[in-house]
Symmetry: C2
Subunit: 332 residues, 2 copies
Protein backbone atom coordinates (compact mmCIF):
# COMPACT_ATOMS: atom_id res chain seq x y z
CA UNK A 1 0.00 0.00 0.00
CA UNK A 2 1.44 3.39 -0.92
CA UNK A 3 2.16 5.99 1.75
CA UNK A 4 2.44 9.77 1.68
CA UNK A 5 5.28 10.64 4.04
CA UNK A 6 6.39 13.97 5.39
CA UNK A 7 9.90 15.02 6.27
CA UNK A 8 9.25 16.86 9.54
CA UNK A 9 12.28 19.11 9.08
CA UNK A 10 11.84 20.22 5.48
CA UNK A 11 8.02 19.81 5.43
CA UNK A 12 8.33 18.08 2.05
CA UNK A 13 5.68 15.44 1.33
CA UNK A 14 6.61 12.46 -0.83
CA UNK A 15 4.56 9.62 -2.23
CA UNK A 16 6.25 6.30 -1.50
CA UNK A 17 4.75 4.46 -4.48
CA UNK A 18 4.73 0.84 -3.46
CA UNK A 19 2.66 -0.29 -6.48
CA UNK A 20 5.36 0.79 -8.87
CA UNK A 21 8.23 0.20 -6.43
CA UNK A 22 11.37 -1.55 -7.53
CA UNK A 23 13.66 -3.71 -5.43
CA UNK A 24 16.99 -2.03 -4.64
CA UNK A 25 18.92 -4.29 -7.02
CA UNK A 26 16.73 -3.18 -9.92
CA UNK A 27 18.31 0.26 -9.70
CA UNK A 28 21.81 -1.02 -10.39
CA UNK A 29 23.14 0.58 -13.53
CA UNK A 30 23.74 -1.71 -16.45
CA UNK A 31 27.33 -2.80 -16.42
CA UNK A 32 29.39 -0.98 -18.96
CA UNK A 33 32.87 -1.99 -19.99
CA UNK A 34 35.21 0.33 -18.13
CA UNK A 35 36.73 2.67 -20.64
CA UNK A 36 40.44 2.99 -20.70
CA UNK A 37 40.70 6.47 -19.25
CA UNK A 38 44.22 7.88 -19.03
CA UNK A 39 45.28 9.47 -15.73
CA UNK A 40 46.33 12.62 -17.59
CA UNK A 41 44.51 14.16 -20.56
CA UNK A 42 46.32 16.88 -22.49
CA UNK A 43 43.08 18.68 -23.45
CA UNK A 44 41.59 18.67 -19.92
CA UNK A 45 41.87 22.09 -18.23
CA UNK A 46 41.79 20.43 -14.81
CA UNK A 47 44.78 18.14 -15.45
CA UNK A 48 48.29 18.99 -14.18
CA UNK A 49 50.32 20.84 -16.80
CA UNK A 50 47.24 22.77 -17.96
CA UNK A 51 47.06 25.12 -14.99
CA UNK A 52 47.17 28.10 -17.35
CA UNK A 53 43.93 26.94 -19.01
CA UNK A 54 41.82 27.71 -15.94
CA UNK A 55 41.03 31.13 -14.46
CA UNK A 56 43.37 32.23 -11.67
CA UNK A 57 44.14 29.78 -8.87
CA UNK A 58 42.44 30.89 -5.65
CA UNK A 59 43.55 28.19 -3.25
CA UNK A 60 45.55 24.98 -3.41
CA UNK A 61 46.68 22.12 -1.20
CA UNK A 62 49.98 20.38 -1.87
CA UNK A 63 53.34 21.47 -3.20
CA UNK A 64 53.62 24.19 -5.78
CA UNK A 65 54.46 21.75 -8.55
CA UNK A 66 52.42 18.90 -7.19
CA UNK A 67 49.02 20.08 -6.01
CA UNK A 68 46.46 17.68 -4.53
CA UNK A 69 43.41 19.96 -4.55
CA UNK A 70 43.11 23.17 -6.54
CA UNK A 71 40.40 25.84 -6.36
CA UNK A 72 39.97 28.13 -9.38
CA UNK A 73 37.35 30.50 -10.74
CA UNK A 74 34.73 28.89 -12.96
CA UNK A 75 35.58 29.61 -16.59
CA UNK A 76 31.84 29.78 -17.37
CA UNK A 77 30.89 31.54 -14.17
CA UNK A 78 27.24 32.35 -13.52
CA UNK A 79 28.19 35.19 -11.11
CA UNK A 80 31.22 37.48 -10.69
CA UNK A 81 32.76 39.04 -7.58
CA UNK A 82 33.95 42.00 -9.69
CA UNK A 83 30.42 43.20 -10.50
CA UNK A 84 29.18 45.88 -8.08
CA UNK A 85 26.15 44.77 -6.06
CA UNK A 86 23.10 46.71 -7.20
CA UNK A 87 19.34 46.31 -6.97
CA UNK A 88 16.87 47.43 -9.60
CA UNK A 89 13.11 47.46 -9.08
CA UNK A 90 10.65 48.51 -11.77
CA UNK A 91 7.08 47.27 -11.59
CA UNK A 92 7.15 43.48 -11.48
CA UNK A 93 10.81 43.46 -12.53
CA UNK A 94 13.07 42.90 -9.59
CA UNK A 95 16.71 42.21 -10.17
CA UNK A 96 20.15 42.19 -8.64
CA UNK A 97 23.32 42.66 -10.66
CA UNK A 98 25.22 39.40 -11.23
CA UNK A 99 27.46 39.80 -8.19
CA UNK A 100 28.57 36.61 -6.48
CA UNK A 101 31.19 33.88 -6.45
CA UNK A 102 31.46 30.79 -8.64
CA UNK A 103 34.46 28.53 -8.05
CA UNK A 104 35.54 25.06 -9.08
CA UNK A 105 37.23 22.69 -6.65
CA UNK A 106 39.46 20.33 -8.65
CA UNK A 107 39.49 17.34 -6.33
CA UNK A 108 42.54 15.46 -7.55
CA UNK A 109 45.24 15.72 -10.24
CA UNK A 110 44.13 12.29 -11.55
CA UNK A 111 41.75 12.58 -14.52
CA UNK A 112 40.72 8.91 -14.31
CA UNK A 113 39.71 8.99 -10.65
CA UNK A 114 36.32 9.23 -9.03
CA UNK A 115 35.77 10.67 -5.56
CA UNK A 116 34.62 7.27 -4.26
CA UNK A 117 37.98 5.69 -5.07
CA UNK A 118 40.22 8.47 -3.76
CA UNK A 119 42.17 7.80 -0.55
CA UNK A 120 40.65 8.89 2.72
CA UNK A 121 43.45 11.46 2.98
CA UNK A 122 42.56 12.91 -0.43
CA UNK A 123 38.85 13.22 0.44
CA UNK A 124 39.85 14.98 3.66
CA UNK A 125 41.77 17.58 1.64
CA UNK A 126 38.69 18.23 -0.51
CA UNK A 127 36.66 18.98 2.61
CA UNK A 128 39.45 21.19 3.96
CA UNK A 129 39.26 23.13 0.69
CA UNK A 130 35.46 23.42 1.03
CA UNK A 131 35.79 24.72 4.59
CA UNK A 132 38.57 27.17 3.77
CA UNK A 133 36.72 28.68 0.84
CA UNK A 134 33.41 28.71 2.74
CA UNK A 135 34.85 30.68 5.63
CA UNK A 136 36.82 33.09 3.48
CA UNK A 137 33.84 33.90 1.26
CA UNK A 138 31.47 34.17 4.25
CA UNK A 139 33.50 37.16 5.44
CA UNK A 140 32.10 39.20 2.56
CA UNK A 141 29.04 40.88 4.07
CA UNK A 142 27.38 41.11 0.63
CA UNK A 143 27.24 37.31 0.40
CA UNK A 144 24.08 35.76 1.88
CA UNK A 145 24.28 32.08 0.99
CA UNK A 146 27.10 29.70 0.03
CA UNK A 147 26.17 26.47 -1.74
CA UNK A 148 28.83 23.77 -2.23
CA UNK A 149 27.84 20.97 -4.57
CA UNK A 150 29.07 18.23 -6.85
CA UNK A 151 27.66 17.06 -10.18
CA UNK A 152 28.82 13.57 -11.16
CA UNK A 153 27.86 12.28 -14.59
CA UNK A 154 25.72 13.48 -17.48
CA UNK A 155 22.34 12.96 -15.78
CA UNK A 156 23.62 15.06 -12.87
CA UNK A 157 24.42 17.97 -15.16
CA UNK A 158 28.14 17.73 -15.89
CA UNK A 159 30.05 16.79 -18.98
CA UNK A 160 33.53 17.18 -17.47
CA UNK A 161 34.89 13.83 -16.30
CA UNK A 162 37.80 15.14 -14.21
CA UNK A 163 36.59 14.97 -10.56
CA UNK A 164 35.51 18.39 -9.37
CA UNK A 165 32.99 20.15 -7.16
CA UNK A 166 31.67 23.71 -7.27
CA UNK A 167 30.86 26.57 -4.95
CA UNK A 168 28.31 29.28 -5.72
CA UNK A 169 27.83 32.23 -3.35
CA UNK A 170 24.82 34.48 -3.90
CA UNK A 171 23.92 37.96 -2.62
CA UNK A 172 20.39 36.77 -1.89
CA UNK A 173 18.81 33.96 0.12
CA UNK A 174 16.57 31.88 -2.18
CA UNK A 175 12.98 31.56 -0.92
CA UNK A 176 13.41 27.78 -0.76
CA UNK A 177 16.10 28.21 1.91
CA UNK A 178 14.21 30.93 3.77
CA UNK A 179 11.17 28.64 4.07
CA UNK A 180 13.29 25.79 5.45
CA UNK A 181 15.04 27.97 7.96
CA UNK A 182 11.70 29.49 9.02
CA UNK A 183 10.18 26.03 9.50
CA UNK A 184 13.13 25.02 11.68
CA UNK A 185 12.80 28.26 13.64
CA UNK A 186 9.11 27.66 14.22
CA UNK A 187 9.78 24.12 15.45
CA UNK A 188 12.37 25.47 17.86
CA UNK A 189 9.96 28.14 19.11
CA UNK A 190 7.25 25.54 19.69
CA UNK A 191 9.40 22.75 21.12
CA UNK A 192 12.63 24.27 22.40
CA UNK A 193 14.86 22.00 20.36
CA UNK A 194 16.36 21.68 16.88
CA UNK A 195 14.18 19.46 14.68
CA UNK A 196 17.28 18.06 12.98
CA UNK A 197 18.80 17.07 16.36
CA UNK A 198 15.55 15.27 17.14
CA UNK A 199 15.65 13.56 13.75
CA UNK A 200 19.18 12.27 14.40
CA UNK A 201 18.15 10.91 17.81
CA UNK A 202 15.04 9.22 16.42
CA UNK A 203 16.86 7.77 13.40
CA UNK A 204 19.64 6.38 15.61
CA UNK A 205 16.97 4.84 17.85
CA UNK A 206 15.03 3.34 14.93
CA UNK A 207 18.23 2.10 13.24
CA UNK A 208 16.55 0.78 10.07
CA UNK A 209 17.38 3.73 7.82
CA UNK A 210 20.96 4.21 9.11
CA UNK A 211 23.82 3.53 6.71
CA UNK A 212 26.83 4.70 8.74
CA UNK A 213 26.98 5.73 12.39
CA UNK A 214 30.42 7.30 12.94
CA UNK A 215 31.86 9.31 15.81
CA UNK A 216 30.63 12.73 14.69
CA UNK A 217 28.22 12.03 11.83
CA UNK A 218 25.18 9.94 11.04
CA UNK A 219 24.55 8.85 7.46
CA UNK A 220 20.99 7.78 6.74
CA UNK A 221 18.19 7.64 4.21
CA UNK A 222 15.51 10.05 5.41
CA UNK A 223 12.10 8.62 6.32
CA UNK A 224 10.60 10.74 3.51
CA UNK A 225 13.47 10.35 1.01
CA UNK A 226 12.55 12.15 -2.22
CA UNK A 227 14.07 9.62 -4.61
CA UNK A 228 15.82 6.23 -4.57
CA UNK A 229 18.92 6.28 -2.31
CA UNK A 230 18.55 9.97 -1.42
CA UNK A 231 20.88 10.13 1.60
CA UNK A 232 21.74 12.66 4.30
CA UNK A 233 25.01 12.95 6.20
CA UNK A 234 24.35 15.01 9.30
CA UNK A 235 26.71 16.18 12.05
CA UNK A 236 25.72 14.87 15.50
CA UNK A 237 26.77 18.14 17.12
CA UNK A 238 24.26 20.96 16.67
CA UNK A 239 25.80 23.32 14.15
CA UNK A 240 24.00 25.70 11.75
CA UNK A 241 26.94 26.61 9.55
CA UNK A 242 29.16 24.22 7.63
CA UNK A 243 31.96 26.71 8.27
CA UNK A 244 31.97 25.76 11.97
CA UNK A 245 33.04 22.16 11.32
CA UNK A 246 36.03 21.25 13.54
CA UNK A 247 39.20 19.51 12.37
CA UNK A 248 38.11 16.24 14.01
CA UNK A 249 34.73 16.56 12.28
CA UNK A 250 36.38 17.25 8.92
CA UNK A 251 38.27 13.97 9.30
CA UNK A 252 35.18 12.05 10.31
CA UNK A 253 33.08 13.57 7.48
CA UNK A 254 35.78 12.52 5.01
CA UNK A 255 35.47 8.94 6.26
CA UNK A 256 31.66 8.91 6.06
CA UNK A 257 31.53 10.62 2.67
CA UNK A 258 34.15 8.34 1.16
CA UNK A 259 32.42 5.25 2.55
CA UNK A 260 28.98 6.38 1.33
CA UNK A 261 30.27 7.20 -2.16
CA UNK A 262 32.11 3.88 -2.31
CA UNK A 263 29.01 1.94 -1.26
CA UNK A 264 26.94 3.73 -3.92
CA UNK A 265 29.71 3.26 -6.50
CA UNK A 266 29.99 -0.47 -5.84
CA UNK A 267 26.38 -1.25 -5.02
CA UNK A 268 24.73 0.72 -7.82
CA UNK A 269 27.66 0.55 -10.26
CA UNK A 270 28.76 4.17 -10.36
CA UNK A 271 25.46 5.99 -10.85
CA UNK A 272 25.30 9.67 -11.75
CA UNK A 273 24.70 11.74 -8.63
CA UNK A 274 24.64 15.20 -7.09
CA UNK A 275 25.55 16.11 -3.57
CA UNK A 276 25.09 19.43 -1.89
CA UNK A 277 26.00 20.94 1.47
CA UNK A 278 22.99 22.79 2.86
CA UNK A 279 24.17 25.40 5.31
CA UNK A 280 22.48 28.37 7.01
CA UNK A 281 22.53 31.78 5.29
CA UNK A 282 25.89 33.30 6.19
CA UNK A 283 24.48 36.19 8.24
CA UNK A 284 22.74 33.85 10.69
CA UNK A 285 25.59 31.47 11.37
CA UNK A 286 24.92 30.48 15.01
CA UNK A 287 21.26 29.61 15.44
CA UNK A 288 19.66 27.18 17.88
CA UNK A 289 17.32 25.87 15.21
CA UNK A 290 19.06 25.18 11.88
CA UNK A 291 21.46 22.30 11.35
CA UNK A 292 23.65 21.91 8.25
CA UNK A 293 23.90 18.62 6.38
CA UNK A 294 25.13 17.03 3.20
CA UNK A 295 22.45 15.66 0.89
CA UNK A 296 23.30 13.06 -1.77
CA UNK A 297 20.87 12.52 -4.66
CA UNK A 298 21.65 9.68 -7.09
CA UNK A 299 20.13 10.66 -10.45
CA UNK A 300 18.53 7.32 -11.17
CA UNK A 301 14.94 8.40 -11.82
CA UNK A 302 13.59 11.48 -13.64
CA UNK A 303 11.43 14.25 -12.28
CA UNK A 304 8.33 14.83 -14.37
CA UNK A 305 5.34 17.18 -14.56
CA UNK A 306 3.87 16.14 -11.23
CA UNK A 307 7.05 16.98 -9.31
CA UNK A 308 7.52 20.26 -11.20
CA UNK A 309 3.91 21.25 -10.61
CA UNK A 310 3.29 20.22 -7.04
CA UNK A 311 6.78 20.25 -5.53
CA UNK A 312 5.88 16.77 -4.23
CA UNK A 313 7.97 13.78 -5.27
CA UNK A 314 7.07 10.20 -6.11
CA UNK A 315 9.72 7.80 -4.78
CA UNK A 316 9.63 4.30 -6.23
CA UNK A 317 12.03 2.89 -3.63
CA UNK A 318 11.27 2.14 0.00
CA UNK A 319 13.71 4.10 2.20
CA UNK A 320 14.10 1.20 4.65
CA UNK A 321 14.90 -1.32 1.88
CA UNK A 322 17.27 1.12 0.19
CA UNK A 323 19.16 1.70 3.45
CA UNK A 324 19.46 -2.04 4.10
CA UNK A 325 20.77 -2.59 0.57
CA UNK A 326 23.46 0.11 0.84
CA UNK A 327 24.37 -0.97 4.39
CA UNK A 328 24.90 -4.58 3.35
CA UNK A 329 27.24 -3.90 0.43
CA UNK A 330 30.61 -5.31 1.40
CA UNK A 331 33.01 -2.46 0.79
CA UNK A 332 36.45 -3.47 -0.36
CA UNK B 1 26.45 41.01 -17.44
CA UNK B 2 24.49 38.33 -15.56
CA UNK B 3 21.42 39.25 -13.56
CA UNK B 4 19.67 37.65 -10.61
CA UNK B 5 15.96 38.09 -11.24
CA UNK B 6 13.01 37.48 -8.97
CA UNK B 7 9.56 36.33 -9.97
CA UNK B 8 7.45 38.62 -7.77
CA UNK B 9 4.58 36.13 -7.64
CA UNK B 10 6.43 32.91 -6.82
CA UNK B 11 9.38 34.62 -5.05
CA UNK B 12 11.77 32.36 -6.98
CA UNK B 13 15.16 33.86 -7.74
CA UNK B 14 16.94 32.83 -10.92
CA UNK B 15 20.38 33.61 -12.28
CA UNK B 16 20.15 34.75 -15.90
CA UNK B 17 23.64 33.62 -16.86
CA UNK B 18 24.61 35.84 -19.75
CA UNK B 19 28.25 34.64 -19.81
CA UNK B 20 27.18 31.13 -20.64
CA UNK B 21 24.01 32.15 -22.49
CA UNK B 22 23.10 30.60 -25.78
CA UNK B 23 21.20 32.19 -28.64
CA UNK B 24 17.66 30.82 -29.02
CA UNK B 25 18.51 28.89 -32.20
CA UNK B 26 21.24 26.99 -30.35
CA UNK B 27 18.55 25.21 -28.34
CA UNK B 28 16.94 23.67 -31.42
CA UNK B 29 17.07 19.92 -31.14
CA UNK B 30 19.24 18.16 -33.67
CA UNK B 31 17.10 17.10 -36.57
CA UNK B 32 16.27 13.45 -36.49
CA UNK B 33 14.75 11.54 -39.36
CA UNK B 34 11.04 11.24 -38.55
CA UNK B 35 10.37 7.63 -37.66
CA UNK B 36 7.60 5.86 -39.49
CA UNK B 37 5.15 5.62 -36.60
CA UNK B 38 1.90 3.78 -37.37
CA UNK B 39 -1.35 5.48 -36.32
CA UNK B 40 -2.40 2.31 -34.48
CA UNK B 41 -0.08 0.05 -32.46
CA UNK B 42 -1.42 -3.34 -31.40
CA UNK B 43 0.67 -3.45 -28.21
CA UNK B 44 -0.22 0.10 -27.06
CA UNK B 45 -2.80 0.08 -24.25
CA UNK B 46 -3.92 3.58 -25.24
CA UNK B 47 -4.77 2.65 -28.85
CA UNK B 48 -8.38 1.91 -29.97
CA UNK B 49 -9.15 -1.80 -29.80
CA UNK B 50 -7.09 -2.19 -26.62
CA UNK B 51 -9.59 -0.53 -24.31
CA UNK B 52 -9.59 -3.67 -22.12
CA UNK B 53 -5.86 -3.26 -21.44
CA UNK B 54 -6.36 -0.12 -19.34
CA UNK B 55 -8.05 0.13 -15.94
CA UNK B 56 -11.74 1.04 -16.06
CA UNK B 57 -12.84 3.96 -18.24
CA UNK B 58 -13.86 6.93 -16.07
CA UNK B 59 -14.86 9.46 -18.69
CA UNK B 60 -14.87 9.71 -22.46
CA UNK B 61 -15.71 12.15 -25.23
CA UNK B 62 -16.99 10.87 -28.57
CA UNK B 63 -19.11 7.96 -29.69
CA UNK B 64 -19.02 4.67 -27.83
CA UNK B 65 -17.07 2.94 -30.58
CA UNK B 66 -15.16 6.01 -31.69
CA UNK B 67 -13.89 7.95 -28.71
CA UNK B 68 -11.87 11.15 -29.11
CA UNK B 69 -10.60 11.55 -25.53
CA UNK B 70 -10.63 8.82 -22.91
CA UNK B 71 -9.89 9.09 -19.18
CA UNK B 72 -8.86 5.91 -17.33
CA UNK B 73 -7.21 4.97 -14.04
CA UNK B 74 -3.42 4.87 -14.15
CA UNK B 75 -2.31 1.24 -14.37
CA UNK B 76 0.73 2.07 -12.22
CA UNK B 77 -1.10 4.46 -9.94
CA UNK B 78 0.83 6.21 -7.18
CA UNK B 79 -2.37 6.72 -5.13
CA UNK B 80 -5.75 4.96 -4.88
CA UNK B 81 -9.22 6.29 -4.15
CA UNK B 82 -10.14 2.93 -2.56
CA UNK B 83 -7.66 3.28 0.30
CA UNK B 84 -9.23 4.78 3.45
CA UNK B 85 -7.71 8.13 4.39
CA UNK B 86 -5.70 7.71 7.59
CA UNK B 87 -2.95 9.63 9.35
CA UNK B 88 -0.17 8.08 11.41
CA UNK B 89 2.23 10.08 13.56
CA UNK B 90 5.05 8.47 15.53
CA UNK B 91 8.05 10.60 16.52
CA UNK B 92 9.50 12.08 13.36
CA UNK B 93 7.48 9.68 11.20
CA UNK B 94 4.43 11.38 9.76
CA UNK B 95 2.43 9.65 7.12
CA UNK B 96 -0.90 9.49 5.34
CA UNK B 97 -2.23 6.31 3.77
CA UNK B 98 -1.93 6.25 -0.01
CA UNK B 99 -5.40 7.69 -0.64
CA UNK B 100 -5.81 9.84 -3.72
CA UNK B 101 -6.58 9.80 -7.43
CA UNK B 102 -4.26 9.07 -10.34
CA UNK B 103 -5.80 9.14 -13.81
CA UNK B 104 -4.56 9.16 -17.39
CA UNK B 105 -6.14 11.36 -20.04
CA UNK B 106 -5.65 9.66 -23.43
CA UNK B 107 -5.70 12.70 -25.69
CA UNK B 108 -6.44 11.13 -29.07
CA UNK B 109 -7.00 7.68 -30.62
CA UNK B 110 -4.03 8.38 -32.96
CA UNK B 111 -0.80 6.81 -31.69
CA UNK B 112 1.36 8.80 -34.12
CA UNK B 113 0.03 12.20 -33.12
CA UNK B 114 1.48 14.85 -30.88
CA UNK B 115 -0.65 17.42 -29.06
CA UNK B 116 0.86 20.25 -31.10
CA UNK B 117 -0.44 18.76 -34.35
CA UNK B 118 -3.95 17.88 -33.17
CA UNK B 119 -6.83 19.98 -34.49
CA UNK B 120 -8.03 22.91 -32.44
CA UNK B 121 -11.26 20.97 -31.84
CA UNK B 122 -9.31 17.97 -30.47
CA UNK B 123 -7.27 20.14 -28.08
CA UNK B 124 -10.52 21.72 -26.88
CA UNK B 125 -11.86 18.26 -26.00
CA UNK B 126 -8.72 17.51 -23.95
CA UNK B 127 -9.31 20.66 -21.90
CA UNK B 128 -12.98 19.78 -21.51
CA UNK B 129 -11.84 16.42 -20.12
CA UNK B 130 -9.43 18.19 -17.72
CA UNK B 131 -12.18 20.49 -16.49
CA UNK B 132 -14.76 17.73 -16.10
CA UNK B 133 -12.43 15.49 -14.10
CA UNK B 134 -11.12 18.44 -12.06
CA UNK B 135 -14.58 19.50 -10.95
CA UNK B 136 -15.80 15.96 -10.25
CA UNK B 137 -12.76 15.08 -8.15
CA UNK B 138 -12.83 18.43 -6.32
CA UNK B 139 -16.21 17.44 -4.86
CA UNK B 140 -14.45 14.88 -2.66
CA UNK B 141 -13.79 16.75 0.57
CA UNK B 142 -10.77 14.53 1.34
CA UNK B 143 -8.95 15.83 -1.74
CA UNK B 144 -6.88 18.96 -1.12
CA UNK B 145 -4.98 19.52 -4.36
CA UNK B 146 -5.49 18.45 -7.98
CA UNK B 147 -2.49 18.60 -10.32
CA UNK B 148 -3.00 18.12 -14.06
CA UNK B 149 0.18 17.66 -16.05
CA UNK B 150 1.72 16.31 -19.22
CA UNK B 151 5.07 14.58 -19.72
CA UNK B 152 6.23 14.60 -23.35
CA UNK B 153 9.37 12.63 -24.20
CA UNK B 154 12.00 10.70 -22.29
CA UNK B 155 13.72 13.70 -20.68
CA UNK B 156 10.30 14.79 -19.38
CA UNK B 157 9.78 11.45 -17.65
CA UNK B 158 7.60 9.40 -19.98
CA UNK B 159 8.33 6.40 -22.14
CA UNK B 160 4.82 6.06 -23.59
CA UNK B 161 4.61 7.71 -27.01
CA UNK B 162 0.80 7.74 -27.35
CA UNK B 163 -0.26 11.32 -26.46
CA UNK B 164 -1.59 11.46 -22.90
CA UNK B 165 -1.72 13.68 -19.83
CA UNK B 166 -2.20 12.79 -16.17
CA UNK B 167 -4.11 13.97 -13.14
CA UNK B 168 -2.99 13.37 -9.55
CA UNK B 169 -5.17 14.41 -6.63
CA UNK B 170 -3.65 14.36 -3.15
CA UNK B 171 -5.18 14.48 0.34
CA UNK B 172 -2.55 17.01 1.39
CA UNK B 173 -1.35 20.40 0.15
CA UNK B 174 2.40 20.22 -0.56
CA UNK B 175 4.41 22.88 1.29
CA UNK B 176 5.61 24.25 -2.06
CA UNK B 177 2.01 25.17 -2.95
CA UNK B 178 1.20 26.48 0.53
CA UNK B 179 4.17 28.86 0.36
CA UNK B 180 3.09 30.19 -3.03
CA UNK B 181 -0.50 30.72 -1.97
CA UNK B 182 0.68 32.42 1.22
CA UNK B 183 2.95 34.77 -0.71
CA UNK B 184 0.04 35.72 -2.98
CA UNK B 185 -2.18 36.24 0.07
CA UNK B 186 0.41 38.48 1.69
CA UNK B 187 0.72 40.55 -1.49
CA UNK B 188 -3.04 40.96 -1.58
CA UNK B 189 -3.12 41.98 2.07
CA UNK B 190 -0.42 44.59 1.50
CA UNK B 191 -1.58 45.92 -1.87
CA UNK B 192 -5.24 45.04 -2.29
CA UNK B 193 -4.76 43.30 -5.61
CA UNK B 194 -3.77 39.93 -7.03
CA UNK B 195 -0.04 39.85 -7.85
CA UNK B 196 -0.75 37.68 -10.90
CA UNK B 197 -3.29 40.21 -12.23
CA UNK B 198 -0.65 42.90 -11.84
CA UNK B 199 1.88 40.71 -13.64
CA UNK B 200 -0.47 40.25 -16.59
CA UNK B 201 -1.06 43.99 -16.80
CA UNK B 202 2.65 44.79 -16.61
CA UNK B 203 3.64 42.10 -19.14
CA UNK B 204 0.99 43.28 -21.61
CA UNK B 205 2.31 46.82 -21.15
CA UNK B 206 5.96 45.80 -21.59
CA UNK B 207 5.12 43.53 -24.57
CA UNK B 208 8.63 42.12 -25.05
CA UNK B 209 8.03 38.79 -23.29
CA UNK B 210 4.55 38.19 -24.76
CA UNK B 211 4.12 35.25 -27.14
CA UNK B 212 0.32 35.24 -27.64
CA UNK B 213 -2.24 37.80 -26.53
CA UNK B 214 -5.66 36.22 -27.09
CA UNK B 215 -9.13 37.23 -25.95
CA UNK B 216 -9.05 35.53 -22.54
CA UNK B 217 -5.43 34.44 -22.05
CA UNK B 218 -1.95 35.84 -22.18
CA UNK B 219 0.96 33.55 -23.08
CA UNK B 220 4.37 34.87 -22.06
CA UNK B 221 7.84 33.97 -20.86
CA UNK B 222 8.08 35.17 -17.26
CA UNK B 223 10.62 37.90 -16.46
CA UNK B 224 12.39 35.40 -14.15
CA UNK B 225 11.88 32.27 -16.30
CA UNK B 226 13.57 29.31 -14.62
CA UNK B 227 14.87 27.66 -17.78
CA UNK B 228 15.00 28.25 -21.55
CA UNK B 229 11.50 28.80 -23.02
CA UNK B 230 9.73 28.30 -19.67
CA UNK B 231 6.31 29.77 -20.55
CA UNK B 232 3.12 30.68 -18.67
CA UNK B 233 -0.41 30.78 -20.06
CA UNK B 234 -2.51 32.85 -17.70
CA UNK B 235 -6.23 33.69 -17.78
CA UNK B 236 -6.87 37.45 -17.98
CA UNK B 237 -9.89 37.13 -15.71
CA UNK B 238 -9.02 36.73 -12.03
CA UNK B 239 -9.73 33.10 -11.18
CA UNK B 240 -8.09 30.96 -8.46
CA UNK B 241 -9.36 27.57 -9.53
CA UNK B 242 -8.90 25.96 -12.93
CA UNK B 243 -12.32 24.38 -12.37
CA UNK B 244 -13.98 27.79 -12.81
CA UNK B 245 -12.87 28.17 -16.43
CA UNK B 246 -15.88 29.09 -18.64
CA UNK B 247 -16.76 27.47 -21.95
CA UNK B 248 -15.52 30.50 -23.87
CA UNK B 249 -12.27 30.38 -21.91
CA UNK B 250 -11.87 26.64 -22.58
CA UNK B 251 -12.07 27.41 -26.29
CA UNK B 252 -9.61 30.26 -26.07
CA UNK B 253 -7.18 28.23 -23.92
CA UNK B 254 -7.30 25.45 -26.51
CA UNK B 255 -6.27 27.97 -29.18
CA UNK B 256 -3.41 29.42 -27.10
CA UNK B 257 -2.16 26.02 -25.94
CA UNK B 258 -2.24 24.53 -29.43
CA UNK B 259 -0.47 27.56 -30.88
CA UNK B 260 2.20 27.57 -28.17
CA UNK B 261 2.86 23.84 -28.54
CA UNK B 262 3.02 24.20 -32.32
CA UNK B 263 5.47 27.11 -32.10
CA UNK B 264 7.68 25.09 -29.74
CA UNK B 265 7.32 21.98 -31.92
CA UNK B 266 8.32 23.81 -35.07
CA UNK B 267 10.78 26.30 -33.65
CA UNK B 268 12.69 23.93 -31.37
CA UNK B 269 11.99 20.75 -33.36
CA UNK B 270 9.76 18.83 -31.00
CA UNK B 271 11.65 19.12 -27.72
CA UNK B 272 10.72 17.06 -24.65
CA UNK B 273 8.56 19.12 -22.31
CA UNK B 274 6.29 19.10 -19.28
CA UNK B 275 3.32 21.29 -18.69
CA UNK B 276 1.32 21.62 -15.53
CA UNK B 277 -1.83 23.43 -14.48
CA UNK B 278 -1.21 25.14 -11.15
CA UNK B 279 -4.52 25.68 -9.41
CA UNK B 280 -5.48 26.67 -5.86
CA UNK B 281 -6.00 23.94 -3.22
CA UNK B 282 -9.55 22.69 -3.75
CA UNK B 283 -10.88 23.89 -0.39
CA UNK B 284 -10.00 27.53 -1.13
CA UNK B 285 -11.46 27.81 -4.61
CA UNK B 286 -12.57 31.47 -4.69
CA UNK B 287 -9.82 33.69 -3.33
CA UNK B 288 -9.01 37.28 -4.21
CA UNK B 289 -5.28 36.54 -4.24
CA UNK B 290 -4.41 33.35 -6.12
CA UNK B 291 -4.62 32.99 -9.89
CA UNK B 292 -4.31 29.67 -11.72
CA UNK B 293 -2.07 29.25 -14.74
CA UNK B 294 -0.53 26.71 -17.05
CA UNK B 295 3.26 26.43 -16.91
CA UNK B 296 5.21 24.86 -19.80
CA UNK B 297 8.78 23.69 -19.16
CA UNK B 298 10.76 22.43 -22.19
CA UNK B 299 13.31 19.91 -20.85
CA UNK B 300 16.25 21.24 -22.80
CA UNK B 301 18.74 21.79 -19.98
CA UNK B 302 19.44 19.68 -16.88
CA UNK B 303 19.07 20.66 -13.26
CA UNK B 304 22.23 20.02 -11.26
CA UNK B 305 23.50 20.22 -7.68
CA UNK B 306 23.14 23.99 -7.40
CA UNK B 307 19.44 23.94 -8.28
CA UNK B 308 18.79 20.93 -6.01
CA UNK B 309 20.64 22.55 -3.14
CA UNK B 310 19.53 26.14 -3.29
CA UNK B 311 16.18 25.92 -5.06
CA UNK B 312 17.55 28.68 -7.30
CA UNK B 313 17.88 28.09 -11.04
CA UNK B 314 20.48 29.13 -13.58
CA UNK B 315 18.84 30.03 -16.89
CA UNK B 316 21.19 30.20 -19.87
CA UNK B 317 18.60 31.89 -22.10
CA UNK B 318 17.44 35.50 -21.95
CA UNK B 319 13.65 35.53 -21.49
CA UNK B 320 13.22 38.50 -23.86
CA UNK B 321 15.24 36.83 -26.63
CA UNK B 322 13.45 33.51 -26.12
CA UNK B 323 10.04 35.19 -26.37
CA UNK B 324 11.03 37.03 -29.55
CA UNK B 325 12.29 33.78 -31.09
CA UNK B 326 9.06 31.85 -30.33
CA UNK B 327 6.91 34.81 -31.39
CA UNK B 328 8.61 35.09 -34.76
CA UNK B 329 8.26 31.45 -35.79
CA UNK B 330 5.91 31.35 -38.74
CA UNK B 331 3.32 28.78 -37.76
CA UNK B 332 1.86 26.81 -40.62
Amino acid sequence: MPEIRQNVATKDWVIIATERAKRPEEFVREKKEPKNIPSLVSTCPFCPGNEDKTPKEIFAIGDKDKWQVRVVGNKFAALFSTIPLQRKIKGIERCISGFGVHEVIIETPRHDMTTALLSYEAVKQIIVAYKTRYNTIAENSNIELITIFKNHGLAAGTSIAHPHSQLVATPVVPSHIRYRVNEAMRYFDDNGECIFCKMIRDELGEKERIIIDSEYFVTFIPYAALSPFHTWIMPKRHMSSFGDISQAEVEDLAKSLKELLLRIYQGLDNPDFNYVIRSIPTSECKTDYFHWYLSLIPRITKTAGFELGSGMFINIALPEESAKFIREISVK
